[in-house]
Symmetry: C2
Subunit: 199 residues, 2 copies
């Protein structure tokens, strides 16, 4: 994509996030978004065939950003337990930074609850995370990070649930706690719980 | 309150939940709710001075229900670790039953993100739960349930975050996992993590 075209695309996304936060997804109109972004409707529809497509693109950016930052911590040379601890630290930083993103985060959830296509776009990565963590925990059972009797699938859901819960609370009530520290402690507690007892 | 008056109140709440789920809080009108409940506007305003007051009453019922079921498990004769395990089992059952309540749950969150009064009504009980769990974990440090070096405040947030995360995932994606089992396993992992190492 040309630089100028890329810039337009990113301007439209930025304006849309502001509009969605201010008025909500349903009330935000393509005209308002175009006005705020300083682009024509022609330019808008060149980049995004509909408001929903734009919304999904914003959500994909958001999920992709978390994914990239998170799995940068998985280095094959490290033990699994260490990789997951490092992921916890990364998440803590992401979550502490997520405060202020409450309205957009809520829009993702609400639209997911009303629209099958958005729901699929939210749910697919969750289930994908669960698969990835399941695999990681199974590796950890081999490298001695975790007890052999750990149910990797359920343990993966527990880690993801903790992350989702902290993210939600961090955006809803950023000042209630040091969410970065809560994330690290929580991941550590779960890892301790999964650790080989005989160690 | 008279039986008949109580019934009217509960009919209005039931109709409102349906309307809020179907159209969203903003679009649902008092007229629609009255029509669905089969009550006059006079009766409505006798019970609820505004749509927001009605919404807050529904949310209070919901939170109160969880609270009552949860803390019924705290019996002073039991060790803290046992009480929290039992709470986990109760929550698991509540969460498994919560599937299907997604739209109303989302409405609570969205309204909280837009309206200071609703936000306070959601946040106050969370912070209250954290205080209660903090106290419970401190008791558990005394009765030998947990290590002495556990930070009770942060451990309380970890437990609450896990619960919030499982609840959210359970309502968004009920079929992805056996959420009752995930709740029990998750609580157990955290309790193992908090347990005295020397035990």
């Amino acid at each position: 994509m040309q630089t100028r075209s890329k810039e337009t695309r990113s301007q439209i996304k930025k304006a849309a996030i502001e509009e969605f936060c201010r008025s909500g997804y349903d009330a935000a109109s393509v005209s308002d978004i175009c006005r705020k972004a300083g682009v024509s409707k022609g330019a808008f529809y060149y980049h995004f065939s509909s408001k929903q497509v734009l919304f999904l693109a914003i959500m994909e950016d958001w999920l992709q950003g978390i994914d990239t930052q998170l799995f940068a911590n998985r280095v094959p040379e490290k033990k699994v337990i260490q990789s997951i601890q490092d992921m916890g630290s990364t998440l803590g930083v992401i979550f502490q930074a997520a405060s202020g993103q409450l309205p957009m985060f809520m829009e993702f959830m609400v639209q997911a609850s009303r629209d099958k296509e958005v729901w699929n776009a939210v749910i697919a990565p969750y289930r994908q995370y669960q698969q990835s963590f399941s695999g990681l925990i199974n590796e950890g059972k081999k490298d001695g990070s975790f007890r052999k009797d750990v149910d990797a699938g359920e343990a993966a859901w527990v880690l993801i649930s903790l992350a989702v819960g902290i993210l939600l609370q961090g955006v809803v009530d950023p000042r209630a706690a040091d969410w970065e520290s809560v994330t690290n402690k929580g991941v550590q507690m779960i890892l301790d719980g999964l650790h080989r007892r005989e160690a």
